[in-house]
Every structure is written in C-alpha cells, then in structure tokens.
C-alpha cells in the first residue's frame, strides 16, 4: 500500500479501525452510495446561460435580450478512480461547468447527477450534506486561504461546519491526518503557520487537506498548478493522482495546459464555446485527434525538445464571445477545413469511425 494513510472520515466506522485502512475505505465508500451502479458523476445536456442586462434604450427598442451561452449542452460521465481533464481556452465554459457541478451556479437546464442524485438546481439547504461528497481546489493558492486563519483553523473549518470530530483534540488529529495525506510532513510543523509563511505549493496542499477532511468522493480542481512554480507542479499533480488511485476519488481537472492533461489525466474533454467538441482517453485524444480544433491546439503546444519543431497550425483570431454563437458548427468561422454543411448543421458528439471506442468528436468530417 502507498506510504500515505488514506484519510478516514469519522462517523462511518469507529476511529480505532484506522489500522486496517483498506477495509475501512471500502466501508466508507459503500456507506455513501445510495444507488449501486450509478456513476460518481454524470452530467447530461447541461446548459447554463447568463442573461445580460439590457440598457434602457435596448429595452425600449425591444431588442432581444442577449445571453452568455457559457455552457451550451455538455454531457459526460466520470467514475470513481478516474481523472478527467477539461481542456479549452478562455470562454469555452469549463469554469462554468465546474461551478455548476459544485452547486455554486444554477443551470438553465440539464442534469448533474452525483451518485445518481440530481443536484442541478437544488436548494442550498438540500445541497449542504452533499458538500461532503464534492469539493473544489482553486487556482490561486495565494488567495484560497484566509490570510488570518492559521493552517489548523483552515483545515478544521470544514469539520466545524459539518459537525465532524467529537472534540478539539479529535479534530486536531483528523487535521494532522489530512495534512499528512496531502504531503505536508510533519504536519505538526504546519498547524500553527499562517499562509504567508508558506510557499505556493505548500498552500495548495493545505487547501487540498482542507478538502480531504470531509472525505469527498469527487474532487474538482480548477487549474490547480498553473500558479505554482514548474518545479513544484509535478508534486501536487502526483498527489492528485495518488488520491485518484489510493482513495478512489474521481477528479475533474480544468487545465489549459494540454501537456499536463496528456500526462496526468485518464480522459480528456476538449471544450469550445460551451460544448465538448472532442472527448476520449488521454492517449487517444492526444495521438489520434479527430476534431480540427483539437488538432490545431495540439499543433501549437510548444514542445520541450528544440529539435521537435512541427509546423504549428495557428488559427486566426481568437475565440468569439459566447454571446453570439456562430450558426451551424460553432467552430466553423475559424475551421481550416470547414465545408458548406458546417455552416448550417450543428454536429452532434458521436463516435467517428477511425477512432477507438469511447472516443467522441463533434465534427461532420470526422
């Protein structure tokens, strides 16, 4: 078994059963699964539109109310023990998707099922117990910790909110476990520190520990390493990978860095203007891309080897505003191989013939 102790949230089994961690882990997971067989996360036709406020003149002229089509029909599933990377450029909707899964944003339509339960549009009060199941790691380690809280307080806060831990000593013990699982050893050295005394990588691990303390099954990570130094990134990503493997968590990671996605994720979903345009296992998507956008993106990712200079396919312009989505295939204005059909018909996400099973692309020409 790995050198890390899988964190055991109390309340499931008695605390002195921590020794046989595999048995406990299985019990914990089974405890919370209301529908056996339902995937950890299943998103179906998720749509999140934000209405734009109209000015006085626009209202008087009865111009149609514009909406930001942040998420425009996204479907995927994520199982326990899987890491999926949501890749795309700004405005593609990856952040909105994740915010909706977290329950921070109410979707316009569609379903988000956590272990079979649809949480889309759920009221805050109902959501509260489910917050133990899904937790989020944020991009900015310098902002995600309250600068006035010591590490101890940050990690104990979720416990206080959800009534975990029977006493202050108990909570401290759980905090130490979580910090050590996040790679901060010896944990005692960190408990009384303030965030400004820690490096970026250490702060991010504290944030991860604060999430682990609730025993989540699904971890959402928004660019978890993009603001960290290069030499520290692999450590944090490996931590996420070990959580995936050892604690059987499902991890949904947003990243703009295709190289990171290729290395650490099991599955990759490429998003463009609110839709998933290609989806599949990491190796399939990276080595056998079917969608022209994916192909272009992959071609412009800089490689480490200076001898490896393949001709990049640089698209013109930038991703259009999600307010006015192009008709037909939303990528057609910038697509290097667009045909007439692409301007009128919106392609569905389906399995193109030359690709492997489970590899989907939304392109007429694939």
């Amino acid at each position: 078994m790995s050198e890390t102790q899988a964190f055991v949230p109390p309340g499931s089994v008695s605390a002195d059963a921590v020794g046989s961690q595999s048995a406990v882990a299985v019990t914990t997971v089974a405890d919370r699964e209301p529908q056996i067989g339902a995937p950890l996360l299943e998103v179906t036709d998720l749509v999140t539109h934000y209405p734009l406020r109209r000015g006085l003149i626009d209202t008087a002229a009865r111009r149609p109310r514009l909406r930001v089509h942040a998420v425009d029909g996204v479907s995927f599933r994520l199982d326990r023990g899987e890491m999926m990377a949501l890749v795309g450029e700004s405005g593609c909707g990856k952040t909105s998707t994740v915010q909706t899964i977290l329950g921070m944003v109410k979707p316009t339509s569609g379903a988000v099922r956590l272990n079979g339960t649809d949480i889309a549009g759920m009221a805050d009060r109902q959501m509260r117990p489910l917050r133990r199941t899904v937790q989020m790691i944020y991009q900015d380690p310098y902002e995600s910790l309250d600068p006035r809280f010591r590490v101890r307080q940050t990690v104990e806060e979720p416990m206080l909110v959800h009534g975990i831990g029977s006493s202050s000593a108990d909570r401290e013990q759980l905090a130490v476990s979580a910090l050590e699982q996040a790679g901060l050893r010896p944990a005692e050295l960190f408990l009384d520190r303030y965030p400004h005394e820690l490096s970026g990588g250490q702060r991010q691990r504290v944030a991860i520990a604060a999430a682990l303390v609730l025993g989540p099954q699904l971890l959402l990570a928004d660019e978890p390493v993009s603001m960290l130094d290069v030499s520290v990134r692999a450590g944090v990503l490996s931590l996420l990978d070990s959580l995936r493997k050892d604690a059987e968590m499902g991890i949904l990671m947003i990243t703009h860095d295709l190289s990171t996605a290729a290395h650490f994720a099991d599955k990759i979903a490429v998003m463009y203007l609110g839709r998933i345009v290609e989806q599949g296992t990491a190796s399939e998507v990276v080595r056998n891309p079917q969608h022209p956008y994916t192909k272009a993106l992959l071609s412009v990712v800089p490689k480490r080897d200076p001898r490896d200079r393949s001709a990049p396919q640089i698209l013109t312009g930038e991703t259009p505003d999600p307010i006015l989505v192009p008709r037909g295939c939303r990528f057609n204005p910038r697509c290097p191989v667009a045909v007439d059909r692409c301007r009128t018909e919106d392609p569905a996400l389906r399995e193109p013939a030359p690709a492997a099973i489970g590899h989907l692309a939304a392109c007429h020409l694939a």
Partner: protein, 318 residues
C-alpha cells in the same frame, strides 16, 4: 503514469518566520502622525476620566468674578457666571467625549450592520438599503439636526440619536464597498463551497478583514460627532444646563465674551475641540492609509538607483 509522492523534506523550508505583528502596532511604528493622534486621543480620554478628581474647582459653583482673567488661582480665568474655566473645560470634555463616542457607537452599529448586510447579500437587499442610505446622505446634517431638536426637544440623548442617524450612512457605504470586494475573494468562495452558512462566513471571514477599516471609520466618525455636538450646542439645540464644550462656546458667544475681551472663555475651549478632532483624524487617516495599498507611494524612480563599483571579481568583491 503517476510518480510517487517525493519526500518533501519540508522541515527545513518552513523556517520559523517572524510572527505577524498586530496591524495597529505596525501602523504606529511606521507613521508618526498616528502616534501623535493616538496620544492626543488618549490624553483627552484620560483627562475626562480623572476630571472629577483633579479639577481644581467645581464647574457649577461660583468661585471667581465674572470674566476674571487667567491668574495663578484660575489658570484659564472664569466665565460669565464666575465658574472656573479649567474645571468647566475638564467637565465639559467628559460630556462631549461621551456624546461623541456614544453617537459614534450608534452610527457604527447601524452603519456597519447595513454595510455588511448590503454588501454581502447584494441584489434587492442591497438596492433597497442603499436607497435608504442615499436619502439620508443627501439631507443636510445641520438642518436635519435642527428640525429634530426642535421636534423632540433639546437633550443630550436626542443629540446622540440625531448624530448617530446622520453619521451611519458614510460608514455603511464604505463598509459595503469593502464587503463587496471581500465577498469575491477566493477563500470566501471556498468557505461557501465547504457548506458554511452566511453567518459563519460573515463572522469568521469578513468581519476580521473589515475590522481595521471599521476602526478607522469609527475614529473619524468620533471627530465628526464631536464637531456636530459642538455645532448643535452652539446653535442652542442642546440642553443648556449641560456643560459640554459646545455649550461653553454657546454661553460665551451669547453672553458677550468677545466684546468683554474675555478670550479665555472661547479660545481654550475651541482649541480643545480642534485638538481632539485633529487627533482623531491623524489616527484614523493613518489607519486608512495603511489599509489602502494603492496610497502607498511606489514608483520606479528614475533618478536614484545607486551604482557600486566592484573592487574585484568573484566572491570577495561583495
């Protein structure tokens, strides 16, 4: 595909960093103005507390002649009723400061509460509260005070209430702005994602951050409250039997102190008021400046970077 978690050998890296000093101590260290301001405030507060024990005479019993000039026995002379000025000043200070602080407390509680609720919840709560605030902001202070004093009658308690009602609006706006920006901070969003309720977030995450701002605002409001109290008293809207710095001034003007040449009936009093207000402003502004990172002067000064000549090359050159 995954790599084992490397032992981070972190013990060495987390050097025992210096403990974060209190914010206010930092402000006092860096700005002399703050120290001066605080010293003035403390001086007058202490004076007000010990006034009954150290005032040479009673402020309400005659002890000298009408408008007697300053002398060895009466350092600041006497006023029109033959009361010792110094004692009156000390006594008056107590009431003025009490009125100032009490009114500020009212203003802070209302203003802080409205600011936090408005800033945190936003939307229709914010809109409606801000409309109320706007109406009150627009009303001219003194006119409103005069009307209220006229309607309710002149008394210290009414003065406190009136000043409190007038002053909470500025605080509300300032606090609201700060809370609105704090609400967007990542750690607040993370607290929500954990499942914290509103009360917890406000109490644990937002209040500590606005604490210094609230204090700065409080101190500045005290200054304004004292000024307003003086103004109201001077206009005859306060209980004339009370002895406050304002009523002292009012009596002096009313009873021909100027034409009698009795400067000691006016100037020391005015000076005391001005000094307290200046002290509050110095201290309050210093805290505000410390809180606003953009006010710190930071520029790429073109003229001043120094050139050193190296004696040799290598490690010995430094």
């Amino acid at each position: 595909m995954s790599t084992p978690i490397q032992d981070l050998s972190i013990a060495e890296d987390v050097a025992p960093a210096p403990r974060r000093r209190g914010f206010f101590i930092g402000v006092l260290r860096e700005r002399k103005a703050a120290v001066v301001g605080l010293a003035i405030i403390v001086f007058f507060v202490v004076l007000a507390i010990v006034a009954p024990y150290i005032s040479p005479y009673s402020a309400s019993a005659q002890s000298c002649g009408v408008y007697a000039p300053p002398s060895i026995h009466h350092w600041l002379g006497c006023d029109d009723g033959g009361f010792d000025m110094l004692s009156e000043l000390m006594q008056g200070g107590r009431i003025s400061l009490v009125v100032g602080f009490a009114a500020t407390l009212v203003a802070m509680i209302i203003g802080g509460g409205v600011g936090i609720v408005s800033g945190y919840f936003g939307r229709w709560i914010d809109v409606s509260l801000m409309r109320v605030t706007d109406y009150l902001l627009v009303i001219p202070d003194l006119v409103f005070a005069m009307v209220i004093a006229d309607l309710w009658g002149a008394s210290l308690f009414h003065v406190i209430i009136v000043i409190g009602i007038l002053e909470w609006t500025t605080t509300a706006r300032v606090i609201r702005a700060q809370v609105m920006s704090l609400r967007e901070r990542v750690y607040v969003k993370r607290a929500k994602a954990i499942g914290s309720g509103h009360a917890r977030i406000i109490w644990k995450h937002i209040m500590p951050q606005i604490g210094p701002l609230l204090i700065a605002n409080t101190v500045l409001t005290v200054a304004i409250a004292i000024y307003l109290e003086t103004a109201l008293a001077f206009l005859g809207l306060e209980d004339p039997t009370a002895t406050t710095w304002g009523t002292i001034l009012e009596h002096a003007f009313d009873r021909t102190a100027i034409s009698s040449g009795a400067w000691w009936a006016i100037i020391p009093d005015g000076f005391a008021i001005a000094l307290v207000i200046v002290g509050c402003f110095l201290f309050g502004q210093a805290i505000e400046d410390a809180l606003n990172p953009r006010l710190k002067v930071a520029h790429l000064s073109m003229r001043r970077w120094k050139i050193r000549t190296l004696v040799g090359r290598g490690a010995d050159a430094i």
